[in-house]
């Protein structure tokens, strides 16, 4: 799960880079970079969730 979260975070980074290359206009470029950061946050959330699950299993 943590590995999956890391991969999703990396995907978010490439989304942000793709926005720079694909969109010359500032508005869609900003929107896609923000989307990339949102995907990274999603990946971080997955990794945190995995961490909490592991903690729960080690406690029980």
């Amino acid at each position: 799960m943590k590995l999956a979260g890391m991969l999703v975070m990396t995907a978010g980074f490439f989304l942000a880079i793709a926005a720079l290359v694909l969109f010359p206009d500032p508005a869609p470029r900003t929107a896609f970079v923000l989307c990339g950061i949102a995907v990274e946050c999603l990946g971080l959330g997955v990794a945190i969730r995995s961490h909490m699950q592991n903690r729960g299993e080690s406690q029980s």
């Binding site: 490439f14 942000a16 500032p26």
Partner: protein, 433 residues
């Protein structure tokens, strides 16, 4: 080294001397954070904590001189390694020699920049050491610092300070002046905070921190005096750090430097005031360790924007940082089960990201906000997975966590054979008889 051999670089002798003097004061910030790390840990691990800070500074210095500086880049004859994508050059790796060969022929400004980077990697590497307090082995802590100094930090330093692709976002994609990080918010604090998160996940929490039933156990730091004096040292160091960074990376004129130093102080002061009030309202009395964390978060946030914002904006940045810090510390511990004794994630990681975004908001150049966002995306989406992967692999060869017996008797006795306070006698409280 023969000073006469250093070619003129456009930097006057007075500015060179001032920057060098500031860089000689800047390590006070490292000393301050080292004291804070030791004070927020337990008394039975205090000597190991402080020795670890010193050892990490030594290891990062040697490794960065051996290989890291070559990747960060300092040779004037070449521009580093780049590839073409969508018709733009992407400069991703610097160019230099092993053990600083050819360094003496660099310009004075480049030499000062490399000195700045030596201090920056030492600072970045002691941040996770505080988060792994009371359970992270000294040898594996030094190994992790070596990995940071040889791989992740040089890459990031080149991208941000060495004319790499993040610094060139302005030229290549019309994003303001490119990614700006004058005081090391990204390359020092966010990198340190992300490394701290990786260490916490790999090493796990301290024994007894999260019991099977009930809330997380409070394990308070053993010496509030160390922590608060560390805050004062960090203030002096960060003022010098941000001012030197403004000269080196923002090319600020001399007249702008007092405002940079004042902005640093204002940000820290605003953060302390906010944390003081919040903890006073929430707990009835101000909390010393949370106030220290708030002060430090203000300093961290200022490292990105002190050279770009006005005094009023710096105060605002500090107030927001000070409000967020105590709430984040609580959320991370109680809701997310993260055992971070030094508070590095809320202080360095979140404070650094907030500072970088604030720099984009308050910078005068158009497109600067987007450049800062791309920098933050790089830190979260590339630097963190890379750091986690490297630390995960390192943990296979040098296990991070000490055995349970070592954790029980304390890191001082287990790793060093003697305590930090040998004349302290621990005895039972007679009133319980």
């Amino acid at each position: 080294m023969n000073p006469a051999s250093i070619p003129a670089s456009g930097m006057s002798d007075a500015v060179f001397a001032l920057t060098l003097a500031l860089l000689l004061v800047a390590p006070l910030a490292i000393a301050g954070v080292a004291l804070i790390n030791a004070g927020l840990g337990r008394s039975r691990s205090a000597a190991q904590a402080l020795l670890g800070n010193v050892a990490i500074v030594a290891v990062t210095t040697i490794v960065f001189a051996l290989v890291g500086a070559a990747f960060a880049g300092y040779l004037p004859s070449t521009t580093g390694h780049s590839f073409q994508l969508a018709g733009k050059p992407w400069n991703w790796l610097g160019s230099g020699g092993l053990l600083l060969s050819g360094f003496a022929s660099s310009t004075a400004q480049v030499q000062l920049g490399i000195l700045f980077e030596f201090l920056a990697i030492a600072f970045a590497a002691i941040i996770p050491w505080g988060s792994g307090a009371d359970r992270w082995k000294l040898t594996s802590g030094c190994a992790a610092a070596a990995v940071l100094a040889a791989t992740v930090f040089p890459l990031l330093a080149h991208w941000v300070w060495g004319g790499g692709w993040l610094a060139q976002l302005g030229v290549n994609f019309s994003l303001g002046a490119g990614f700006l990080d004058a005081g090391g918010a990204a390359s020092v604090h966010v990198l340190g905070g992300l490394s701290a998160l990786a260490v916490i996940w790999i090493a796990g929490p301290r024994k007894g921190k999260f019991p099977k039933e009930g809330f997380a156990t409070a394990l308070p730091g053993h010496n509030a005096a160390y922590v608060l004096f560390g805050c004062l040292l960090a203030m002096a160091g960060c003022m010098a750090w941000n001012t030197a960074g403004a000269i080196l990376w923002l090319h600020a004129p001399l007249a702008a430097l007092p405002v940079t130093a004042i902005n640093t102080l204002l940000s820290a002061s605003g953060a302390l005031a906010a944390t003081f009030i919040i903890t006073r309202v929430r707990f009835g009395k101000p909390d010393a360790s949370l106030c220290a964390n708030g002060w430090l978060t203000g300093l961290v946030a200022s490292s990105a924007c002190a050279g770009l914002a006005t005094p009023g904006e710096s105060l605002f940045v500090g107030l927001v940082a000070g409000i967020a810090t105590p709430l984040l510390v609580e959320v991370l511990e109680l809701a997310v089960s993260i055992d971070d004794p030094s508070g590095a994630i809320s202080v360095h990681l979140v404070g650094g990201i907030w500072g970088l975004i604030a720099a984009g908001v308050f910078a005068p150049q158009a497109g600067q906000f987007l450049a800062q966002l791309v920098g933050v995306a790089t830190l979260l989406g590339l630097v963190f997975p890379l750091t986690y992967l490297l630390f995960w692999l390192l943990n296979r060869f040098f296990p991070f966590r000490v055995d349970s017996d070592g954790e029980r008797i304390g890191m001082d006795l287990h790793e060093l054979g003697g305590g930090a306070y040998p004349e302290f006698v621990i005895h039972r409280d007679e009133s319980y008889r």
